[in-house]
Amino acid sequence: MLSEQKHTLGTFEHALENLRNNVMMMASQTERSLNRALKGLMDRDDKLAALAIADDEEIDQLEKQIDKDGIDLLLRFQPVASDLRRVVSAMKLSSNLERMADQATNIARKARKLNKHPALPEILLLNPMIDHAMAMFRDSVDAYIREDAQAARAIIPQDDALDKMNAQVSRQLIDRMARDPEQLRGYINLMFVARHLERVGDHATNIAEDAVYAAAAEDIRHQQVAATA
């Protein structure tokens, strides 16, 4: 249960608001970094790829700031119930966003490698994965910000679809490698990009799980493992 009412202690209210704003800012910078990396890849734009790589430093600093603010909040105000979940989930969210930004950097590096050689038409195989992974990213952050457990839950099954897309793209690229070994290096880089997109989906899933925890106090992680144990 989440309360809409404001805290009696204004400094506590302000600290929670500040933490939330930093998470929103970090999410928006991570999205920008992913977009730059992916556009740099699709449009063969080294400049955009370089910007995506440069974004990483700022996002790393924001992760540290959110952790510092979160620990400070725990120390000063000893939050409980929904407030405690908000702080813990903000700290976990920042960790997932940072790792997504790492994926953006990885994609941007692969883009720069690919851009050194003639364009491969197979790059278009990645388009459905890009759309799917970015939708998962946006939806998970949106569910977290709106504290919407239902919307967050709806994201979890989408990860399977992304995993299947990744497997399919990999199969298609392996097939191309056999037929055109000259382009082996390029196809391997495209496979890596698919893998990085698949990891973006994993982190979006983690964010959705944290959003459910923050909004509904329910831990929905590793349920398949628990069910089969």
């Binding site: 309360s3 929904s82 990885n106």
Partner: protein, 278 residues
């Protein structure tokens, strides 16, 4: 920092996640409160309270000032009898199944079984030894060896023995505030009660003394049923097994402390414990 992802993943070996045991009130309740209304004269302060206090556990009563938590606590050993016009106007309070307001109840015996520790430590102007022995003597104990044994046992149980064993004949007023409060707990323990009521027992203590009393409360729960009224939410979270939240004379929510402080069922509880009102 950029981390390159591993290309292979190994399935984790099966394991049994460790679960933190949460006490379940399976045993018969020590104190049962049924449909209780309470009034000071014409002014009603408790409304239709229903509650079962589990045995050998710490139950914390929380809520804003004037919510009735202390009034209910004082009902459990009929301390409210001392206030003119104060009375349980409806319902029933039972100690192990027996109505504590029944006409044939011996109130002195009830208060032996249900001891009390107050907000401010209130040692008698006597020696440390005599403070602890007081209740036993009132109950008729005369044998020196038995009293000696009970005094030592109570002071040990109250985690005070090591600090006072060499000065048992000194005045209790020479003890620090925290020691005086533990002496009062020892005094309550000496008559071997089953229930100990504590009304904000740490509100006048410094953090170290508070920690010692809280540690003591936590240890005592193995042998006693403890009900504690506190305004300190962190204290309720630290040392109680169950928490009851009261508001405007009504019991809003009762449950395991871990549940109340992580995911309460009622909006009013959530708003109170997170500091949104009260």
């Amino acid at each position: 920092m950029v981390i390159m992802e591993k290309e292979t993943e190994h399935p984790a070996p099966p394991f049994e996640p460790q679960k933190v045991a949460e006490p379940e009130p399976q045993e018969k309740a020590m104190i049962t409160v049924s449909d209780v209304d309470f009034s000071y004269g014409a002014h009603q302060v408790l409304f239709d309270v229903n509650l079962e206090i589990p045995p050998r556990a710490v139950t914390a009563f929380i809520g804003p000032s004037g919510c009735g938590k202390t009034t209910l606590l004082r009902c459990f050993n009929r301390m409210n009898d001392l206030i003119d016009g104060a009375h349980v106007s409806a319902g029933r309070i039972e100690l192990e199944g027996h109505d504590i307001n029944a006409p044939d109840i011996d109130v002195v015996e009830l208060r032996r079984r249900v001891g009390m520790v107050f907000q401010k430590s209130n040692p008698f102007p006597k020696s440390i030894y005599d403070n602890v022995a007081y209740g036993l003597r009132v109950l008729g104990a005369t044998k020196k060896s038995r009293i000696n044994e009970a005094v030592e046992k109570s002071l040990r149980a109250a985690a005070l023995w090591g600090e006072v064993k060499d000065r048992l004949d000194s005045s209790a007023y020479g003890l620090s505030g925290g020691q005086q409060q533990r002496l009062c707990i020892a005094r309550a323990l000496a008559v071997e009660p089953e229930v100990i009521l504590m009304d904000e027992p740490c509100s006048a203590l410094d953090p170290i003394a508070t920690a010692k009393v809280e540690e003591l409360i936590y240890q005592l729960r193995e042998n006693f049923t403890i009900v504690i009224v506190t305004h300190n939410m962190q204290q309720a979270g630290r040392c109680s097994n169950y928490t009851a939240f009261f508001y405007l004379g009504r019991l809003i929510e009762f449950g395991a402390t871990s549940k109340i402080f992580s995911n309460p069922s009622e909006r009013q509880t959530e708003d109170y414990i997170t500091g949104r009102f009260g």
